[in-house]
Symmetry: C2
Subunit: 266 residues, 2 copies
């Protein structure tokens, strides 16, 4: 309750009761006042989706006075949790936003689909230093013990030093079965998901499709990428920008300005 305590805002996309977010919160105890505003159930793959044609609700789940942790559940997406949480629930700018720990990788282009990272990017838009954490293990009861020193040390460091404007961190941590060699600061690997829709039928014998697939890495041997780091025993840290401009092409594409001839009376 001290006014000088940093405010740490925690969210995720697996829901407030997931083991990943509980592990993250546990690793942060003592670093500040911890407020969790997380979805009331799974919201994987929600990217930066927002809810505008439906209302959003939230409720208090629990208050742990001893450890200064308050947990709220929200009916919206991860980004809704950040927007509603900062604007309406805590009512002031947090000193740090952490999202996760996601059950499953958000490396490479998964950053585009990830609700965990959508929330971290939203934190960056609020000008709050923000980190998304993910573990390369989808299991509900995944082992998060080895993530503690990473989530705590990085959170503590970012709380102290901040992050550049408009930049958040995408941190992926190898599976607990793999020997952890250290941290690597990297770039997002280039690649894409190759969709393999699983076709089945509904109760009325109509065709339905389930999204499945495998990741196809364009550059598996490039040591500067997050996928390489993870495949070689390192936790990866990728600085992510909310500026999606392909800056190197702005000047080169200027010729398109001549494409449409508009009568210029101005």
């Amino acid at each position: 309750m001290s006014v000088n305590k940093p405010l740490i805002f925690v969210t995720n996309d697996d829901g407030y009761s997931a083991k990943g977010i509980r592990s993250l919160v546990e690793s942060l105890i003592g670093l500040g006042e911890i407020v969790v505003v997380a979805p009331d159930g799974p919201r994987s793959g929600m990217s930066s989706a927002i809810t505008s044609i439906q209302p959003i609700r939230y409720h208090l789940v629990k208050k742990d006075e001893k450890n200064d942790i308050t947990v709220y559940a929200c009916t919206g997406t991860p980004v809704d949790c950040v927007k509603l949480g900062i604007s309406e629930i805590v009512g002031r700018k947090p000193d740090l936003l952490v999202s996760g720990i996601n059950h499953g990788s958000n490396a490479s282009v998964c950053v585009l689909y990830s609700g965990t990272m959508g929330a971290a990017m939203e934190g960056a838009l609020f000008k709050v230093p923000s980190i998304g954490f993910s573990l390369l293990d989808h299991a509900l009861d995944a082992d998060f013990a080895h993530t503690y020193p990473i989530t705590r040390a990085l959170s503590e460091d970012v709380l102290r030093t901040g992050l550049p404007a408009g930049v958040c961190l995408n941190v992926n941590i190898p599976h607990s079965d793999d020997e952890l060699k250290g941290l690597k600061v990297c770039r997002q690997a280039s690649g894409q998901w190759i969709e393999e829709f699983k076709r089945s039928e509904d109760g009325a014998n109509k065709p339905i499709f389930w999204l499945t697939g495998r990741f196809d890495n364009d550059e598996p041997n490039d040591e500067t990428t997050d996928e390489w780091a993870l495949a070689n025993g390192y936790a990866s840290i990728v600085p992510i920008t909310v500026d999606m401009t392909a800056h190197m092409f702005v000047e080169k594409m200027k010729s398109w300005e001549k494409l449409i001839y508009v009568s210029s009376e101005s």
Copy 2:
């Protein structure tokens, strides 16, 4: 049905029956075989969300043999439409993907929340030259007449020249009430939405929250931004990259590699 005809894939986030997508399709007639795979209803603000814990369905809406237009409606998100559409419905790589025309702006950071742009980015991940179009008019019956020369000329040009790998275009077009001065190739303006949640009550008198807000532009006078172009009568073209790495910070953040001391027996 000619095998040499280019395949043009069309989608959006307002649904297959929206005026914006019908206007876009009309402007493209004759440029190739047109296949529309679009959501069966509104999916605004869906970003790059994907549907994985629910099945997806689609159905044929209509076939216009004369103009070589086939329209499918899909239960999923805009990105689902692209994934299912390319992988299962058309079964081959389109020569061009166009998304929109969105009813409402997707300039600046709206690109992060936009389903229209989520679909265009997904096209870029499929290595298909892709363009997202948006009109600065939310009205269901918005006037799209002035968008025709822009959507047709840009589509024709991109069909001919392609786009750099991993880059798609975010094209925003002023309201029909404003005099169109031409096209401007720009960068994404820096800014954020200031949330102003509208609080009301549900039928059981419990509080509910509706997302509203206003856009706060960090740099309203910068002529290199999309927001400036639109405010000054130009349609804006921003090249958008699916590589979200903040490249300029990768080297600077290398010190974090020393943050965690891992026993190095390797």
